[in-house]
Symmetry: C2
Subunit: 637 residues, 2 copies
Amino acid sequence: MTRHTQRPANDGESDEQQSGAEDGFDSLLPGLRRRDFMKAGAAVGGLSGLAGCTSLLSDEGDGTVSAAPSHSVPPGEVDEYYAFLGGGQSGDVRVVGLPSMRELIRIPVFQRDSGRGYGHDDESREMLEEAGGYTWGDTHHPRISQTDGDYDGRFAYVNDKANGRMARIDLTYFETDAIVDIPNQQGTHGSCAQLPDTDLIFGVGEFRTPIPNDGTGDLHDPDKYGAVLAAIDPESMNVEWEVLVDGNMDNGDGSKEGRYFFTTGYNSEGAVTEKGMTRSDRDNVKAFDIPRIEAAVEAGDYERINEVPVVDGRKDSPLNQGDDPVVRYIPTPKSPHGISVTPDNEYAIASGKLDPTASVIQIDKIDEVDDPADAIVGQPKLGLGPLHTAYDGRGHAYTSLFIDSQVVKWDIEEAVEADAGSESPVIEKIDVHYNPGHLIASESYTEDPAGDWLISLNKLSKDRFLPVGPQHPENDQLIYIGDDEAGMEHVKDSPAHAEPHDASICHRSKLDPAKTYDPDDLDLDYTDEGEETMERVDDDRVEIEMYSTRNKYGFQEMTVTEGDTIEMQVTNIETTSDMLHSVAIPDHDVHMRVAPQETRKVTFTADEPGVYWIYCAHFCSALHLEMRSRLIVEPEE
Amino acid sequence: MTRHTQRPANDGESDEQQSGAEDGFDSLLPGLRRRDFMKAGAAVGGLSGLAGCTSLLSDEGDGTVSAAPSHSVPPGEVDEYYAFLGGGQSGDVRVVGLPSMRELIRIPVFQRDSGRGYGHDDESREMLEEAGGYTWGDTHHPRISQTDGDYDGRFAYVNDKANGRMARIDLTYFETDAIVDIPNQQGTHGSCAQLPDTDLIFGVGEFRTPIPNDGTGDLHDPDKYGAVLAAIDPESMNVEWEVLVDGNMDNGDGSKEGRYFFTTGYNSEGAVTEKGMTRSDRDNVKAFDIPRIEAAVEAGDYERINEVPVVDGRKDSPLNQGDDPVVRYIPTPKSPHGISVTPDNEYAIASGKLDPTASVIQIDKIDEVDDPADAIVGQPKLGLGPLHTAYDGRGHAYTSLFIDSQVVKWDIEEAVEADAGSESPVIEKIDVHYNPGHLIASESYTEDPAGDWLISLNKLSKDRFLPVGPQHPENDQLIYIGDDEAGMEHVKDSPAHAEPHDASICHRSKLDPAKTYDPDDLDLDYTDEGEETMERVDDDRVEIEMYSTRNKYGFQEMTVTEGDTIEMQVTNIETTSDMLHSVAIPDHDVHMRVAPQETRKVTFTADEPGVYWIYCAHFCSALHLEMRSRLIVEPEE
């Protein structure tokens, strides 16, 4: 597919079809943009029909207005933000509207999804096949591409921890358009970018294995194992280079000016048991110096393994001995897990997981200090099990406390100014339910966070929802953080399918999804009404090209012979948005979606004689049920 | 599996773990049960923090209270109802809480779902394989089992229109436990029961094909095609008998006293093109007389096709010539689609689809009248594209109007009393957005509907949500119908993944899901800590039985040889609810979930030498990341 490289701002283009709102959604909040929205809770509340609607918001009706704008988006209005949530072991990315927390769409990434026809048409099926052929993935960290330190709405990237892969989602069509199987890496965790322009995507290797992991050498001795950071070109999705490190890694984040990529890692011990991995009281944060690594690659200072240049970034590597190390190992307390860079690019903050502190690393000190430990300029005590940190753009950090089941808000500069442990920069804590993993604030990963909403992605929900059997939903809790005086307000519990990890939240003005396909973006030829063809191209191969529209397919019947392979290509010639069709074939495991102006192809074998009714599974009109075509499979003899 | 046969009422049993609500959820609305809830909107509003929160609810704060209780369920409270929605071409059933419209859990039925491990462990994988091996299905009509005309909370049943199947969901564990591939039937549409005790489940055949459809006979002549109704035993899930009919069928519903099963059908013409299927101005509703059909089966009046007794229920069948026909064909206007029986069992109401009326069939007249048309006692004009009808238990019907994009509320007795067309029983219409298919009111399918909430399952959403590309979500709109004076109130838009069709709504007091597994309900042996075994049972076969718990598996490493088949059985020995683990194996396409007290088994082949880190994908503790085990696959030579 050829795709745009620049996206215009979402202009709220109106939909020409159907009754309803005449204008695009932005007209519903006239003149309000993100910054105004944050400052105009009362006005927005007024637009939404006034008054909040949770028990936390009191005194409506007596003239006072709660600090939190209503999170209930009334019928006819739309959400302010898109949140992209990694679906975890479900293998998808979910798009949730904020503040309503309604799931707007699921984007299948590493698994098939017949609701979208994903993995059912030839192109997506081949993409999944070429990426290993696995039927699932473990999506943790969806990140949206940035230009100049702000979301550009072009792509999202997400990792597969299970199978060491990275995927790209095209945000014009909200669909996965590329997957790369990362060589030499198992347990791809963080999936983050070189900022400010998303010049590289990083896959972070969590599981230490032999490299190459092909059964050669000593499989049993963990001292022979390693883990790599993988740098992926965001356009070609090729793995450009990798860096071998000591210990392991899990989360990561990039500094805002493009120089560093940071990772945490809990297994500096290089151990293979829980006890071994938690033996040491100190692990480290790794600061990858991207320009120096690229210089090393340029200079040929690498070993090519599985076709990828692998730079030696271990502590004792020659590349780390001089004044310009490629990787600095910054010692931090026991088993750090989360790491994120502050919006102003001053600090990278890593949380201790098995230690109650966060480590505040001053970025411009990393290359100045002799002892990397001296780059740590603050180490506030936050609570038990601090995992991840988000930002509001007003100097505050919000850290999830897994064991305490809380979110703690703290002042970053106060943490730097205070002697570690002697004075607390903690401003406030709020209970969440229960055991938060990641948390995310609106646009926290950009240089200019919005500072209004925060989602705590809680791992357990227990009794927070109606019981639904032994597998409870997770609980994504919405917290308003827009009013420092009133403090954090927990306004909503949202059940979630297993299992959101990280998320990115993007203002709606920065995305401009297409309403129909642009046929020029697709590889297959458009087949208009009257252009349908059916041809036997070989003894046992039939090619069909046809259109679909309300309420018919290009052919009302297709006769083939038992054993034939059928290549069926279908164009949805509708120009009306939301007017989807599909090609569902009983007993042939085919469900191909065709959205307006989309052309897709599916290849299948007709191996059982009989009559099979091809039908449209997307309800499209009052004559939808009659939108059918007969596939007649005649016996071979 | 051996399962309970009776469920106690949900007693709101408290969860012993974790901080949070001390009591079960029912204590949150003390003393309130469904009926009270409906009458106590103001009181409930008060509990929820007062005041509504949509633009439709005005004047809060001035002493007046809206007719609709708040649909926003505040943190710490739970929903009043479970709604089970057929996921359409996604192949799942979704459980949504009412009135919040939050998706509580997805139950995969016909597709694999790594978020639940469904289709990944041996048992569920084999179930899918034995049911045809398809990777998707098309779930339309989830119905909950009833006893004495009310939901008993034991099972839900749902059809697969795509591949002619019926599935059962065990509501103790909220998981699919049986799937039957229905012989002689293509396009299984309705999936409804013989009431009041769910003695049979009916699969309704929509697509006319040769029977048997094995390539014998004339495949091209539609006059040789047929469609059958299939009756399935709800316990064994065996197809007991089928009835061959003239024309086709799509939706269905059972009368409340067990005698009739009704189906609509739009293709009495037996045509194979859209034009042909819509040629006739009249089609029909079929009333299947269940006792007479069973008597015919008992008497041997059937032909056995694909091992199923098929009774001839065509118009010219000898079984339809006397005074006790097995099927009555009741002529109705053009292409009827929806049909449902009123709660008092007086009427079956079928909607015209291509005709603006509904046909009110008086059930006790069916066997009395000479001309079946005389059983139709009312035919009110409702609007354009009437599809489906739900009930509030107060004598009103609510019919979706696909073309008008409205829901119409009308008085059933007035429709019967008026001369057809001369006087309108229509009470009120409300716009929905856009093009509703099914609609469902709370407990509408029982003898005692709750009459408070209604969901309109709209096929198009267009501009109602933030744009997410060419595939828009559907829009499930929540409407309050509890106040006849105030009229219907549309209170919420809920985006939905493709594509909800029918739904059933059940009060929470009627379900009692398990919080952990009962090991006695499972076929596999429990493996406690200390009981783990690993054994080579054959040259190339290794059997492993082990436990999982925070934060380890029974074995910290497992060494096998390239080419080995590994049977790995895992018991989650946790007794704490919501404390799930899983077995994720990189590059082996394994993701097996084990919920507390659950034992599952997965069989896979280790075909590539190397080191693979088995890990837990359900975040379970601060040491979750360290919960790993090494699978070492040594080279064959």
